[in-house]
Amino acid sequence: MSTEYDEIQAVDDEPDIKRGKIEAWAASAIKNPDRTYRAMFYTATIFFLVTTLFPFYWLFMVALTEQRQLQNVGLVPSGFDPSLLAQGDLTMGTNPGVFIEVFTLIPFHRYMFNSFVIATVTTIVVLLVASLAGYVFGRLRFPFKGPLMLLVLVVSFFPPAAFFIPLNRLFNTNIDILRPVLADGSLYNTPYAMIIPFSAIFMPLAIFILTTFYSQIPDGLEDAARIEGTTRLGALFRVIVPLSAPGVATAGVLTFIAVYNEFFFSFLMTDGGADNWAPIVEGLLQYQGQYEVLFNVMAAASIVGVLPVAILVVVAQEKIVSGLTAGALKE
């Protein structure tokens, strides 16, 4: 790395001791550790970015490659040839049409919609219930608070698979009172079969985050709100939640992403049909036929599926930053 090379040059002001290159570098690093730390920071960051972003890049390249050329995709799509531009071929030998194919082969938009709805509803449920729990754990004194909080957290330590079989049995049971709402009275193939377990599984983390944030809000603000005319609940939603915006955004985004990407429950609680609330990942699997796998369409669909989450994170990040700077509580 160039910074390290610079440091080797920089040792020249110590001519007395004869050192090898590595010894000299070590000496300068001891003398001036900031440069080493910066070098380590860049190394780590670049490593992280490459390992996380390169797969996306490669996915994009796979998507742009024609189906028949898939066996040798390198850093650019096979068949990529800039010289084709001169001949009037704007695609330069790639296949951008795949992004339309994603939606024409199967109703991928419906799968996205399913995932989006399930993730949104789960997030709302989680934030509402976790806000109440966070308020209680963060702001009230009551007996057995510690053990109860521990119990909530223990739930999140269980692998979700542990819950699966009983839940699957339950959701496949026909329950008479549900008949007016659901055709056969069972939750299988309905969004509820996913929203309910997801809400439960992702609740502890949200409770934990919100408890921490809500406990930071000065008591005086809640008291003031209650004196001014809110109930405890009113104070929670009018004062405590707005002031904890960063925490609420964090809990919300984490829940949304986790549910949006969820596969295990979604795969088993539906039969995979777009009309039966199957989520994105099942949509992706639809491109896998008995005789061929449309890897390029799969890749394109993956990218399309990730976009909403990427947009959400960017937007929420701005909210989080603005929430942090708008704080300024005086206690």
Binding site: P218, G220, L221, D223, A224, A225, R226, I227, E228, G229, T230, T231, G234, V239, P242, L243, A326, G327, A328, L329, K330, E331
Partner: protein, 390 residues
């Protein structure tokens, strides 16, 4: 309207009793101050009135209604907090109008009321500011405006000036008194600063360890304290206390005595008592022209001088081996005297002082309850009295 009554209010936390059997009757339009040291239960008492804390026992009655079980919002009260507690995510207008908006007033009425409240606290042009853009004093005014905008029956103020700097505090004190005159609403004010309590209140309610010690107008608390706690808490610097016992000829302590007829006061001989005298009622023997009835001279040595500008505080040691202690008021062999600033006294001078008999207080040595305030004029002039021990 606006009267507050506490009936046998008790608040117990697991082990601690924060408020112990508090009975209070606050009249409409009165400015009552709860004063006491930190942790004495004054804030808890206020929170009980506000409804932020539920009493373990007893009843809270506001404007003739039993509100013990009502939430704060239905009690017809408003409150100003020590930490100001403006909502940081709302501008001044939203802060002031918060309670009105919750009660669904129409926009015009809200605007009119907010304008009026902002006018009262002189913040007309700042309605669109955010709290963090304002100074401490301005924020406190917003908090007060938020409290008055709803025309409550009772204002509760929990150390509203504690977080302001000294100069602003004195200024806001005057403002609050003016506000009280203007609004004529009951104000209950909590403070640990006895000077604030003295200057602002119609009546002071002195609280210690969760118990009501005395509730009286400021000067009554000052001149006729109900017990040693009130006597020591009200007034700065604190009253001098000297332990002693009742003899045939009156009060006798290690270093001096004061004669009176114990029978007239109906106290038993041999009973241990505490004599209390305020620093301004200790005089040099040369400056006694305004003292009608003085005790016999007590010889003392000046220790430390504290010139305040308008007066000087002089620490007096009553015996040679007296050790200057941190708490001069409690030490039996020390006296604190306040005298006029042009006094020529220096440190380590032998002087003689007298006490104003009319201003002496006698408290029970065990319970601390007041026995009498001011002694009857001395009848005989006994030569052996009024001497020092050594």
């Amino acid at each position: 309207m606006g009267d507050v009554k506490l009936e046998a209010i008790t608040k117990r936390y697991d082990e601690v009793t924060a408020v112990d059997d508090m009975n209070l009757d606050i009249r409409d339009g009165e400015f009552v101050t709860f004063v006491g040291p930190s942790g004495c239960g004054k804030s808890t008492t206020m929170e009980t009135i506000a409804g932020l804390t539920k009493p373990t026992e007893g009843k809270v009655i506001i404007s003739g209604r039993d509100v013990t079980k009502l939430p704060p919002k239905d009690r017809g009260i408003s409150m100003v907090f020590q930490n100001i507690a403006l909502f940081p995510h709302m501008d001044v207008f939203d802060n002031i109008s918060f309670g009105l908006r919750l009660r669904d007033y129409d926009a015009e009425e809200i605007q009119r009321r907010v304008d009026h409240a902002a006018d009262v606290v002189q913040l007309e042009d700042m309605q669109d500011r955010m709290p963090e853009e304002m100074s401490g004093g301005q924020r406190q005014r917003v908090a007060i405006a938020r409290a008055i905008v709803r025309n409550p029956d009772v204002f509760l103020m929990d150390e509203p000036l504690a977080n302001l700097d000294a100069k602003l505090r004195v200024h806001m004190r005057t403002e609050l008194q003016r506000l009280h005159k203007e609004l004529d609403t009951t104000i209950i004010y909590v403070t640990h600063d006895q000077a604030e309590a003295m200057t602002m209140s119609d009546r002071i309610c002195v609280i210690n360890s969760g118990q009501l010690q005395q509730i009286d107008p400021p000067l009554v608390c000052y001149n006729e304290p109900a017990n040693t706690f009130v006597a020591g808490f009200i007034g700065s610097p604190s009253m001098n206390f000297i332990e002693g016992e009742i003899t045939n000829s009156g009060f006798k302590s290690e270093h001096f005595s004061v004669e009176f007829d114990p029978k007239a006061l109906n106290v038993d001989l041999g009973r241990t008592v505490t004599l209390g005298v305020r620093p301004e009622d200790v005089y040099e023997t040369t400056k006694t022209e305004f003292v009608d009835d003085r005790t016999d001279p007590i010889s003392a040595k000046t220790d430390v001088l504290e010139p305040m500008g308008n007066e000087v505080f002089i620490y007096l040691l009553l015996s040679e081996d007296a050790e200057a202690s941190m708490d001069a008021a409690k030490a039996d062999d020390q006296l604190l005297m306040s005298t006029d600033p042009d006094s020529t006294l220096g440190e380590d001078e032998q002087i003689e002082v007298v006490l104003d008999r009319n201003k002496l207080h006698l408290f029970d040595g065990v319970s601390g309850e007041a026995i009498t305030h001011g002694l009857a004029p001395s009848t005989a002039d006994t030569p052996e009295a009024g001497t020092q021990a050594d």
